[in-house]
Symmetry: D3
Subunit: 311 residues, 6 copies
């Protein structure tokens, strides 16, 4: 089986970089967009091949998800030998439970739709929940960009800095960063009120007078980071702040929100595309090497070992 | 089991009209839209009920589809006794086959996703392909709005008018209209070149000097109708034109395209919402009575008989 | 994986020809027929192989279908590496929708039974409906015998002949023939009353005084062809008629029905077996090369491209 | 849910008798048979009903099986509330294992096809293998006609008679008969060579000079019974023979085979239809009361208890 | 449908209490245990009923799980109208992800086996992971015993006490307790090294000189509680300790481990049975009212609202 | 794909012997046993390999079954190329039907759980029921140890010995032994009353004064063998007895039960482990060569032919 990369349209630069790293050509794949919004992929021959469809399901998430479903179906009907969906960012991962009786479990809906459309394996990067694989009937490889991000952070972080988890869900991630950066961890405890409003409360760990590296798996509106930063400042910490997160959605005024804080730099990856230069100092670490390495090992049936998330 | 209507957000006026006709309250259902575009429905208690989720999957089709999947999952997890997805307009119905080897079969992808998310039955109105039910593992009821539209057309259509099918796929539909209007049928044969460009060629049937009722299942860009009209005009026909179609998507300059023709009136239904007054004379026949009747019969386990499409 | 051909009993000559073309031996496969009609296949070792089971499901359709299900199960339990069901003729393809509420959708029933019995892929030739692949959860390759038939027709068709579609469902097929034969198309519009009775009505296209090539995907009782021919004759056309169809079922007096018409020759394929010399001038073009080519490409993971139907 | 009986065409007299016993009208169900052998059921409205489709899958087994699959699909698509397939005779039950590596497991193929077509429960009568229910993912109720047959046998069997199992597979059945008739059991051991040829060998139990009741679950060609009778005669037994079996297929010269033996009477049920008066003394005990009782209890959610087979 | 309670053998006292509260008799259900350890349930008639099988899958977890699978299958084959598996304790919930590449995801394995055996809905109490429902294809209701436990704790907890989460995974639970007890929360951060060894590190929140209520979802070996208590003591806290957890497995020396600490009382529920009086002061709050209330509401199709876990 | 053997913990000696015979190293696989009884396998890299998990599901059957499910899931999630579960002894095979309405069908429950956890093929040895394969949706290879056991028996069996089937279910097995040992067969007919009590009745075949080889597929409590032996003795047979069975569970006083009989030797295989020297003369024939041969052929895609059971 030949190794083939099918490019979704959600992140063409990343996909091209992955293919370049793997020294393979992308499968020619056109995506017709009809005037009424329906999509129609037309892709080149990949019969019998070991196919990896790369598509992060970031905003516009519905469009990117439906496109991915169609691409998977096209691969299946086109006779692909094995189909792996690579989602550098897995949308709807936060909907892994109902917080009220009348809700849906979006993560599972997405997982089921991917499998129903032909995906035989998934690859994701730093998903919001490590239980993601338990929600999928098909095998899931959960890669981590933390080593790459920690490498980028190292020169930016002073010796007395502290790694700050902005909420409890980020503590394991913070410990991963901290172990790589040889720094201590502090934790902000907050209660999420609604999707966009966040109330931060307390801090655990010694932060007074110390520079802070606030980390998270993703930055959406920046509200979580902002709240954590305000708590740090209120506790006499964070004379300088660096922010790091695998997924930089940066929607709904995130740049402005972070810009109003003493954030020196925001480090993120290219799991999601950057449309235009953001209004904040942003350092982007590419996960193309990570994805290319993982795809290469999966294609050659080698273990992924150190590429995987800790949990 | 109580009869419950869950309103998707795709067509609130239609859904409200259906509920009103059924003299039932809509299930309270809020749809959170997160800043990154993810959706979260929160709906009221419907445990044990006979639930009908009404959501046409017109533009923006991906959003409306993903919302529908989440609503179905919420109904399932919320303990609904029976779940019927009512799609007044079924998006992706045209993708019922691959015209090239590298394509997807979008209609099947949608059908599978609906079933995987919890739909146990489907209700659709005048779908683009009658084979839709064969693509679904769950039962599908295919309703028709043609009698309602024919009723609206009757006073608009002179005695010497001819019903015109703008392509071969519309002939059965045209015959249905013609039998109700007691008019002859003419057919335009065209070859569809791409999604938006259409080449019309010939006409079968006597159209010279006769007013025309051009009918179709849907009007997307209006290009098909325009092409048919131009053929009619070239053949000396259509001194006056009335257009009728169940689904009025009217995207991408459709109003302008129809406005440039001697179209007296366009008759369509409210299967899809009208955002703002269109720039063309439009008469909208509501399918709320049709849907309400079908839902009521299905709830009371009565046959649908005359509400169904012919094929 | 070795390439293996499993011969169903429905068309041994065709299957042998395919194997010969592929220069492979048929898998030894005996079919016990018990006195009460139950079938028991016993086939040779095919563990790990790439298996193609060839069985058209023509009359007696139930027997041929059940035999195929058993053969697929035997392949699966016998350890076949990959199982492809090759149906040169796919029975029940016309039942792709319910025309009344109390009917079944036979095409889907067959598709589900094939998949449940172990088929992983299907290959069909000129199926009655192009939506067939949307009805199947497994990939379907729809081959076409039209180029082969057109090649056979070329010397039989005068320069002024017209390709005639006997009903609307056959127009796309007619256009395919016409483009290969460089002839115009005419269309007969009919209404099918019951399974065996057909009422033909009108004709679109210039047929007066021109020889006709009436084409269809299949000839069952010949009633559709007969009705079209009578319309042609009534319109002053068809001084000479050639009939062409991929599948020649020729049941229930078809030979007599065609024999009473000025049909010069009927051209068909060997997708279904000929029991005894028919009482009409028949030219049979073998699809063994087509099937052998498709199987070879599928086995070697090459694209099928030009072997596929247009739609 | 109303109780509805859908009549397959395999045994109309039995089905009518069941409906009569249940004091319910049969669902109107027409079965179109197309000239090419395809079947199309058209049945009346049964939306929301508790439906029992009665169809033994005896000869012609393929036709009866395919018809049953279509009926089940029609019920499902027609909105039946619950669908139970009632197979008074379950064809292919003997194929419950592969005796060679290249065979199929027909019983499982049938079970899977029934479930795939919409059956939610099965009812069978004295199936050839009691493991049948383990082969089905859906619940199976295995009824027994032995009490009814034993009642018919009682007046025919002298006081010194012995119940004879013609092979080891029939011993449990023989013990059931024997316990009801208060007679001892004898067993003939044979080795089945092929489908139609049988070699009988020994006998266990005291048969000398005693009348015999040879029992079995089914009589196909009669070869098993004949072989057992010849062993009995060779051992000085069976001055008079009565034969009893639930399913009287009586194919391939069975009547002649039994007629050459001193068989006084053959007692069987109407699980399969009798086309014309057989050339042997036959007493037919109807299982209509058994089926009606079972259906009534299942409809009213009562236990089946004593109607079930022992195993 | 009648409400029926099927008692697994894992917790007969709890099950009897639930039935008593619901004023219903338990379904008679015997469980044969064969000398080789195989289990065979034999249960009374429950055809058409709304069945709730109550079985916590605590130690011996494999036996209790396999028994539950058999009970579910017996319900399904016995014709139950609806089958809900009630697991007051859900074993293997901690295996919701692989922490290394070579592991299994036990929670999903259990979830899949339950569904494959016939469970249509699950009810669990305070599961270790709130993402449990996303792992199940069938609806899951996650009840909480925290209000009941908090009620029992209220008289035991001084006014200056603090609720302590022994690790990050327990913080949400601690906040739930704290809101009901009107007390603040403190958190111990630990790193779990292996299954039985735990290393505790830090504490967030004001604990000095304050009595502590250490809470968790379950107490297995007591090592987590012990480690938290030692950290509290080292920080000058916990002059008096009360321990509370929904599930008291108390295996492998848990009693001794807690007995060596200044634990005044351990409050738990009867989700798991108590074999013999434990060597520690234990107060057991019954969840029978909680389960009975939930089952009654589910049976009567009422919302569960306040019985559900927060997340 | 490399050939890999994953050792379950149920029979480490057998598994090691299989690996030795195949000249392959076992996959490193640790099984954590948590104090509360939950299991956690951690196995080495086997991505892309052809994996055979060897685990007999003998006592403690629930533990061994659940461990097997987890191992299969770990293989699947770890990226195994193909997963075959090898069950030298298949527990719950006797539960292949309900003998009363309220029972489960344990064999099917196990089969479904294995497939749901990732098994793609099964290998079993002399299962209690040959219909086992019909209960599994995945292919099953049923191997037989009878030739190996017959080889071990040959020197132990005098020329006038008779092979005795202790009940009807063992007759086919007895005939297999007899054909290899060139001895006649006798049959004991018994009625099994409950799981542990057995009532033996009659004997068919000449046993007076002849040494006996009592054979069965398994010896659980030894009660069946004991009953058969007592019948033999009562009929003046069995001056010397040899017992042979593939599976020697030998639970619940089996050694004592056999020890009280004139049993010269019991011959069995190592399909199940021997914990400590039994109190009876036992000769153990290893099935490691059989399993190794079967695995090697399946890995190399060769037919299993003579390794399979007859039925």
């Amino acid at each position: 089986m030949g190794l083939r990369i099918v490019p979704g349209t959600a992140n063409p630069l990343l996909t091209a970089a992955v293919a370049r790293t793997l020294r393979t050509e992308l499968v020619t794949c056109e995506l017709d967009r009809f005037p009424d919004g329906e999509l129609r992929p037309v892709m080149d021959h990949l019969r019998g091949d070991d196919v990896y469809v790369i598509q992060p399901t970031g905003p516009p998430v519905s469009d990117h998800l439906v496109e991915l479903l169609l691409l998977l179906d096209a691969c299946r009907r086109g006779g692909a030998g094995r189909i792996t969906a690579v989602l550098p960012y897995f949308g709807y991962a936060r909907q892994d439970r109902r917080s009220q009786a009348g809700e849906a479990v979006g993560a599972r809906v997405v997982a089921d739709a991917l499998a129903a459309s032909g995906a035989q394996r998934l690859v994701v990067v730093d998903p919001h929940t490590a239980a993601l694989e338990a929600m999928c009937g098909i095998p899931v490889e959960m890669l981590t960009a933390v080593p790459a991000l920690a490498g980028a952070l190292a020169p930016l972080v002073p010796g007395d800095a502290v790694v700050v988890a902005p909420d409890l869900g980020a503590v394991k991630l913070a410990e991963h960063y901290a172990s790589l950066l040889h720094r201590p961890v502090a934790v902000v405890r907050k209660t999420r009120m609604t999707g966009a409003t966040v109330r931060a409360e307390e801090i655990a760990g010694d932060v007074a007078g110390r520079p802070a590296v606030i980390i998270d798996d993703m930055i959406s509106t920046g509200a979580t980071i902002e709240a954590a930063a305000r708590v740090l400042l209120a506790h006499g910490g964070a004379p300088a702040i660096v922010v790091a997160a695998t997924h930089g959605l940066l929607v709904a005024g995130a740049a402005g929100r972070l810009g109003r804080l003493p954030v020196q730099c925001t480090v993120t990856t290219d799991s999601l595309p950057r449309g235009h230069p953001p209004a904040l100092p942003l350092q982007v670490e590419s996960i193309a090497p990570l994805l290319a390495d993982a795809i290469s090992r999966m294609h050659h049936e080698q273990p992924l070992g150190d590429l995987l998330t800790r949990s």
